[in-house]
Amino acid sequence: MESLYILIPVALLLIGGAVAAFLWAVNSDQFEDLDTESRRLLFEEEEDDNDTTSPTLQQDRSDD
């Protein structure tokens, strides 16, 4: 149990880091508009299959 005397303060330091990261994320607007981002994944998937006309997108594909 004595190890707790070291482990808990270490954990608190980590928590401090976590809180700092969270505050940074909030302040840099990363929590704005969560709804669009979740749907965006669905849109991007289909793009390569269906689109044939746009030159811009063809250019993207040739890049990889």
Partner: protein
Amino acid sequence: MTQPPPCYHCGEPVLTGDRYSLRRENETLLMCCPACQAVASTIIEGGLGRYYRYRDQPGSRPETTTDFSAYDQPDFLNRILRSHTDGSAEVSLLIGGMHCAACVWLLEHQLQRLPGVSRARVSLDQQRALIQFVPDQIPLSRLCQTIAEIGYQPQPDTPDNAERLYRTEHRSALRRLGVAGIGMMQVGMYALALHAGALQGISDELRQFLRWISALVATPVVLYAAQPFFLAAWRGIRQLRPGMDLPVALAIGLAYLASLWATWQDHGEVYFDSVSMFTFFLLAGRYLEMRARHYSGRRVSDLQSLLPTTALRFAGAEDTQPNTVHLSSLRIGDRVLIQPGQTVPADGTILSGSPELNSAILTGEFAPRRHSPGDPASAGAINGDQPFTLQVSAVGADLRIHAVQRLMQQAAASRAPQTLLADRIARGFVMAVLALAALVFTLWWQWAPERAFWVTLSVLVVSCPCALSLATPVALTAATNALRRQGLLVTQAQVWEQAAAVTDIVFDKTGTLTRGLLTLRQCRPLTHLTEEQCRAIAAGLETGSNHPIARAFGASNLTADGIKHHVGSGVSGSINGIDYRLGRADWVWPAVALNPPADSGQWLLLADPQQPLAWFELDDQLRPETTEAITALRNQGLCLHLLSGDPSPAARKLGESLALDHICTGASPEQKLAYVRNLQQDGRRVLMVGDGVNDLPVLAQADIGIAMQEAPDLAKTRADAVLLAADLNLLPQLLNHSELCRRVIRQNLVWALGYNSLALPIAAAGWVPPWLAAIGMSASSLCVVLNALRLQRDSGRSH
């Protein structure tokens, strides 16, 4: 009777057959108007037709395109662009008309493929787009043009809007929530060890160590995250109106201080885990409420769109020809020219001209008033018949109209749901708990003084204002969210309490029961003039008016001078030197009582000074769901009224065909107000549904006022709810759901109070250790929240 097919873009019924259509692969897509057709073809031929598969709501009807060239002026660009040294720039644009993630996808793709645009990021929450581009390669006006072509309305994002407030509020709430959440989980772990130790044995040093660590972690939770509760409780005390925040603040504060004391003294119980959990749960509840409030605030009070984007400014004192500048270029002291039909762009003093101004936006007064040189005029007022010049005295954030908006927002925020039943309960609750705690303390002090303080503390903690505080807001938020998803946006929380008591529903006619899209059904000329000539004259008179009647006549190449709108009667003006009148027969040709060719339909008469020229029949269709909605409402036992300003027999016939209980036509706005007041004086509770500025006073007078989506922004801001989806069936649903909501709130309150009543005697007897208090509190809060979540599922029909 077959239903007309829905427009492929906006979903409104297509009444023009296949006049506006597109072919795609093997199918023909039908649209309702040239604007929808233009937007749909831009989207589909641009290769972005997938948009129609991704979206989950129909689009909004696109507005006619505006001229964005004023956006390219250098001094305006300097103000709204953030330029970088490499020639690129960023601009933030407010985008109107977005409502789902597919719109975001469409906008981003369309913008990113423009040459010169390096990045476009659109946020649905904030309704804005952040675009990085090279101004030399592509002008800002072209960006705005592109946005308009796919059916959205762009506006520059200027500092004087509520968005900044929303963002700040949201971020600060999230920070507090995060700190409380992380703190709660940490303290929870230590508390688990302590509780286990209490049951199984733990070394004294370790117990003290864990207590001190818990105190350390709980301190920022109480001092930082729980601040809003203390501030609100203090405000409540100062105003002598304690609300739900007072018991919460007391519980958190006292429990924290007592636990600190216990840790310092190494004696007694600690409640850091309960305190952290209180804070977190309550902050979470408030956060969800705030999101709902911001959502409705962003979509309803968009006063940006009430002001024009450009103005006519005289460059110098001697200048006689004004040039078009952007609104934000106006400065105090500028002279501007306002033409008939235009909106006043800034606050100021009238220099020349005696215009008739409609200040409904600011005052709610629907009748225009005549002003003279020297009188003040406010931004947002609509000019009637005369051009006039104005000397600007206030611009930007100082406009009266923004002050009005801020007042309304403050009023909305302070009328938070807590001023309802729960608050009345809270006051009684605080008194009861404090009295009980004092009683417990004195009793224990007699019996076993060393335990008195700790038992009293456990009474305070266990009395758990947590569940009680969550009981109402969670239910209201869940109900609001459920109905909002179906298209009814409730902006005032007391709607839920009052809707269940409604006895009468009063409907406006045009635009509410009917679609408000008047079409010209036929023209009967009375002289040698052809139908087309008569129509062109009428259209010329109605140019520049946004009234539904005006739009029915279409466009004309005839220009009319001296156009005057006579409220309730018609319009007059002169074309090529001849005076014409168009409107109600008894006003247009008062000499002889002329009867329209038929009894049904709305008939307008066109005449010049010598003779009546033509009859026009206007046709307004009922909304497809009106009959069904009326039947549902009647089955709920409500008394239904038609209260219309339309004096024609057609209005009465419409009311009779729907079998409404009371029909009143040809009512002036004052008469409408008196009608509703009379009903209320009889003890009836009135719900009013309307869509025009003329309905503003009545909407405010009614117990619940609901504005249609097409209503002007002022009506929507002052209404208690807005019908975003054009579906009157949401009205019976609102009433059903509000009944359910009331039941759920009552269940929650009964449960919360019942739990307290049960737990208090047990705590007073000294049998509740801290771990039991924490469990009891979490469990009761969970029950209340789960019960409220039922409201999000049981919302009847889904679209």
